[in-house]
């Protein structure tokens, strides 16, 4: 293997394909050995299922619905959490008042709300959106508070010495300075929310990727189940990449903001 291939982006792509090839080969061997397509289909069968679901658009239909719910939940959670987070970050008093409630509710994951929410909202569109909004709300809120609190004191001082009035300082210094943290918080919110989507749709929705997984499981059509699972993974990955690209585009100065 020449050094040219080993290193660099070409090398990484090659390593990726090599690993996945090994993985697929091992899977295939295992599938043939178990011999039960409902238990472990071969990679080929899964591929056929993917093609079938893609060509009749069912795959994209459910993906689109889940994605739509994700975006809606993200928007709702952001509209609620960011202003509150900024206010809490700026005012110790407000933070002292609201934070206890946040800390009490936060450990109760969005998923734990499903039964109660099911009762109030019933099966339908509203349930996943509610659960996902709730799940995204807390990471975004806490990340915003931390971001606002973490704004370099010196930047605010610099603006003060220029005579900039307080309101302007909040809008023109605090918010832009907190933007990188805010975008990280959004990424965490998305991750949290996308995890909740499956559980929410599996139990309480008539459509979407979570629903599709369960539907095909009951039919024991495992290749289709795997197709939708892979779709969930793919979309989650793309969403995260998109947000990273957004962060890179809008906050190029931020030191690498990595998710832990």
């Amino acid at each position: 293997m020449t050094t040219a291939i080993r290193h660099g982006r070409f090398g990484t792509a090659f390593a990726y394909m090599r690993t996945m090839a090994v993985f697929v080969a091992a899977w295939w061997a295992l599938a043939l050995w178990t011999g039960n397509p409902a238990l472990l289909p071969t990679p080929l069968e899964v591929l056929k299922a993917i093609v079938a679901l893609a060509s009749d658009l069912e795959l994209f239909l459910h993906a689109g619905i889940s994605l739509w719910r994700m975006l809606l939940s993200l928007a709702l959670a952001t509209v609620l959490a960011v202003p509150l987070g900024v206010a809490m970050g700026l005012s110790r008093v407000l933070d002292g008042l609201v934070d206890p409630v946040v800390e009490i509710l936060r450990p109760i994951s969005g998923i734990a709300w499903i039964p109660l929410a099911l009762f109030i909202l019933g099966v339908g569109n509203a349930l996943p959106v509610f659960i996902m909004t709730y799940a995204a709300f807390f990471p975004i809120l806490l990340g915003t508070v931390a971001g606002v609190r973490g704004v370099d004191r010196r930047l605010i001082d610099a603006a003060r010495t220029m005579g900039v009035p307080h309101r302007r300082i909040v809008a023109r210094v605090v918010v832009p300075a907190a933007l990188p943290s805010l975008l990280v918080a959004l990424r965490l919110g998305v991750a949290s929310s996308w995890t909740a989507v499956v559980a929410a749709e599996l139990i309480g929705a008539p459509s979407g990727l979570g629903y599709a997984i369960e539907w095909y499981r009951e039919l024991l059509l495992t290749p289709q189940v795997m197709t939708f699972i892979a779709m969930i993974g793919l979309l989650g990955y793309l969403f995260d990449r998109a947000l990273r690209a957004l962060a890179q585009r809008f906050t190029p100065w931020a030191a690498d903001a990595r998710m832990s």
């Binding site: 002292g96 009762f119 495992t222």
Partner: protein
Amino acid sequence: MSTALPSTRSFALPAARSVALPIALVVVWQLAGAASGNARTPLPTHVLAAALQLIESGELPLALLQSLGRVFTGFAIAAALAIPLGLAMGSFAGVERNVDPLVESFRPIAAIAILPLAILWLGTGTPAAVLIVAYAAFFPIVVNTVAGAKRINPTLLRAAATMGLSRLAIVRTVVVPGALPAIGTGLRIAMGVAWTAIVAAELAVGAKAGGGGSGGIGQMMFVFYAYSIELNRIVVCMIAVGLVALALDRALRAAMRWAMPWAAR
């Protein structure tokens, strides 16, 4: 300038503020709920009564123990696999290059999405639940361990190498202690994820596989929803879920502080 002890006033005010809003909300809940006239509406007083009932009858403790047992088992399995793997990936570029594609491909797939497969393979009982928990806990531990191992100051590594240590010895004596705080963080995050995963898994199994059998707090919650329609009991379960999550997190933080007093929080 006074050097007197802080007066009781300066303690009382923040303490009062921190419970003010929660208490106010509970009161509003009670009043609004009672006023709504709907007999089913969960009220704080009813919730409290239901909690006492469930604890006395042993149903709540049993369900929690079942769930916790599954969480700990899955968590232990995940840690046993993820920590060595993470250390290897963080220390040897070759390992990382070959394994990372798999890790990164599966990481975005939430544990709960794997549940139908787990049920297909292992049925609706504890083994499937443990698998889900282990899967869920695996990724945060790996990711954080790798990060911790990579963050080791390269100068330290070089110093150890110049002292003649083999690569394996370097991992053991320099990388592991240095990565410990990051591993701790990964464990803490993984515990939270694991607890959420078990509740979700039990809930889903309860919803799809019928009321009996699987056990655990998630399943109990669903039974209260679908069969006995006991909203107060659902709320009790929700609060229990929250309290356990808090307790687990605090316990892990304390364990970390005990094991690594030098690591900054």
